[in-house]
Amino acid sequence: MNLTPYSKVLIQGFSEYITANHVAQMKANGTNLVAGVNPGFGGQQMYSLPVFDLVEEVVDKFGVIDTTIVCVHPYQVLDAALEAIASNIRQIIIISPGVPPLDMVQLLRKAEAKETLIVGPNSPGIIIPGKILLGTQPSEFYTEGKVGILSRSTTLTYEIARELTDAGLGQSMSVSIGSDAIVGSSFLQWLQILDEDEATKAIVLVGQPGGDREEAAARYIAEAIDKPVVAYVAGREAPPAKHWRQTGTLAAVIGRDPDFGTAKNKLAAFSFARVPVAERPSQIPELVKKAMRV
């Protein structure tokens, strides 16, 4: 992980999901955004960034690029990410939603072989308030502090940051791994990073229905995480999805649980792991304070 303000950052593609405002915010938050890549537009400027046709041109000009923020059309995400990997970029944050899952399978096979971190797709990225912003998280809801936020939502993540900030609890880092069914980095990886991060004193984990990522996280918290964790799961009142075909996980076929993928199941897992769970976003600050014994 290289999340220092010196690390060089690239944007690939300028779609609906990245606006002039996002670019300006990244710059304002200390991100060393060096260029954009948009084939056919090389030599132009976009949101005050120099634009190139190829990633390799950017590397030729600026040297090693640490992170790329991929905002191309969902059908071009695989190609853009493979281009980044071929140019030795080791951190890839995919903002675009709607990437076909089999493209993600192909990308993850390659990323694993090349030890490349993939965050997303359908992720607003990572923010370390006051230090770096990699993605589209709105920094205005954040303030420097000690709480790490880990989620797979977009706006719900900001909602929680806003509640914490309003309650006087700043954040050390906030990451959304992305809300698609198949995403790169896992809750487990980030729990470990937050557990090791000196600035982080407590972790808020934000879940939603689908898959079994929250359940895996709950088990991991019970086993390996020393810092206090508070959980919140949205969608506990939402009607459940139908059966394993739709939830699409092996766990649902082999040794399946009728509640697989539901918020109910996730809440039970947190409860079993003795992780305090907030009823609503506005209750989170209170539980965090209690957990941190502030």
Binding site: P138, T154, L156, Y158, G248, I254
Partner: protein
């Protein structure tokens, strides 16, 4: 998107998976021009595993019987669906029946091969003991299919014949961007020949746009089958249909669900809940945030059971500056509609009351102007639109309004 059996079998035949000679029947009289030999089986083309149990599958030996059976199947609704097409297929004698499938496992982020030496009457409860699987860790190669065959306990020539079918299923899975391809049952004859007797295919909705022929199929199917079920079942929660009076619009699936929870926990009843952050997976033409908001407001306004629209936007939205404009236009068009109605019906209060009340929660500096503009809008009921920054407040206000308008509604 789920294909019908006859569509699945066309795909199977094209990729070389053995299927029986069959013929599509659009009308009972098509059976007079049958090109396959009796005895045949007639199958209702609906997506329901219960089809055989409720009489949607019939064996017939003569044209007369076939036409009679076809007439009755065409008129037999299964799970509320009437078939538009039947499939007439040669009968096949099997010695054994297997279940095989390729499915995308979102937990391990890989396709998995599934197999079982019993055909499954969807007795999924006991499936975990009998079902075998192989995770396709790296790029597929036929040895993964042989690993499945071995795990299923197959021996000798059956290893190759079954794994060849699995191999072709995998190629279909990748070529067409599927979530699932399933053969159930795969018939095995006394001589060891294998045959796909029935099959299911589920296409991933997000990838339809890059397959022209599938997009064409989808267009036809959406016309018949626009249920929100289909959408919810695709595994994302961008549309949740409930039956209360408070519609929820948000920019983010998690946020919409959190709002839904808050409404229910505070004693309210949500109606349709929509995430407008990105285009629906079934949307074929490009959309903008503005166009999605316009469309959502219009659709909700036409649903007379909705009395309050709770809008919850937070953070940055491309075209966010246009939110107040879209809401303004929506309110204005509702007003002119109401006036038109009043003019026509010589002034009535009934219609005015049907204009849903709006609670708008906007958080973030992007909406500083929008908040003021929306608060200043004139509404048909002359009440101002509630604009808040705090979510709990917005929820409370929506519930209060839903309760207060409830009495006036009918």
């Amino acid at each position: 998107m789920d294909l019908l059996e006859y569509q699945v079998k066309e795909w199977f035949a094209n990729i070389g998976i053995p299927v029986l000679p069959s013929q599509r029947i659009d009308h009972p009289t098509d059976l007079k021009r049958l090109k396959i030999r009796y005895p045949i089986v007639l199958k209702s083309q609906v997506n329901a595993v219960e089809r055989a149990k409720v009489g949607g599958v019939r064996f017939v030996g003569t044209t007369i019987d076939a036409i009679a059976a076809a007439r009755s199947i065409f008129n037999l609704p299964i799970l509320g669906q009437l078939p538009e097409v039947l499939l007439a297929e040669t009968k096949y004698e099997t010695e054994q029946e297997f279940y095989i499938a390729v499915v995308l496992d979102t937990a391990v982020c890989r396709p998995i091969l599934l197999g079982c030496t019993e055909a499954m009457d969807i007795d999924w409860d006991s499936a975990d003991e009998k079902m075998h699987y192989v995770v396709v860790e790296q790029e597929f190669s036929p040895f993964y299919a042989r690993q499945l065959a071995l795990k299923m306990g197959l021996q000798g020539a059956l290893i190759q014949s079954v794994s060849t079918v699995v191999e072709k299923m995998y190629h279909l899975f990748v070529e067409k961007d599927l979530d699932l391809v399933e053969i159930n049952p795969l018939g095995v004859s006394a001589s060891g020949q294998v045959m796909a007797l029935n099959g299911s295919v589920s296409v991933n909705e997000r990838a339809i746009g890059r397959h022209q022929n599938i997009a064409d199929m989808a267009e036809t199917m959406v016309n018949h089958n626009t249920s929100s079920d289909t959408i919810r079942n695709s595994g994302n929660w961008d549309v949740v249909e409930m039956h209360g009076k408070i519609a929820i619009l948000g920019n983010g699936a998690g946020l919409v669900m959190a709002t839904l929870d808050l409404v229910i926990n505070s004693g309210g009843k949500p109606g349709v809940c929509l995430n407008l952050r990105h285009a629906s997976v079934t949307e074929t033409s490009p959309t903008t945030f503005k166009s999605r908001l316009e469309k959502a407001l219009k659709n909700i306004a036409s649903d007379k059971s909705i009395q309050v629209i709770l809008i919850n936007f937070l953070g940055s939205i491309s075209q966010g500056s246009e939110v107040s404009q879209v809401i303004g236009e929506f309110v204005e068009s509702s007003m002119s509609e109401a006036q038109l109605f009043m003019a026509k019906s010589n002034g009535g209060k009934r219609r005015e009351n049907n204009f849903p009340r709006l609670v708008v929660r906007l958080a973030g500096s992007e909406f500083d102007t929008a908040r003021k503009d929306i608060a200043a809008l004139q509404t048909p009921t002359d009440t101002s639109i509630t604009v808040v920054e705090n979510l709990d407040e917005g929820v409370a206000e929506a519930i209060r309004l839903a309760k207060s308008t409830a009495s006036r509604r009918f």
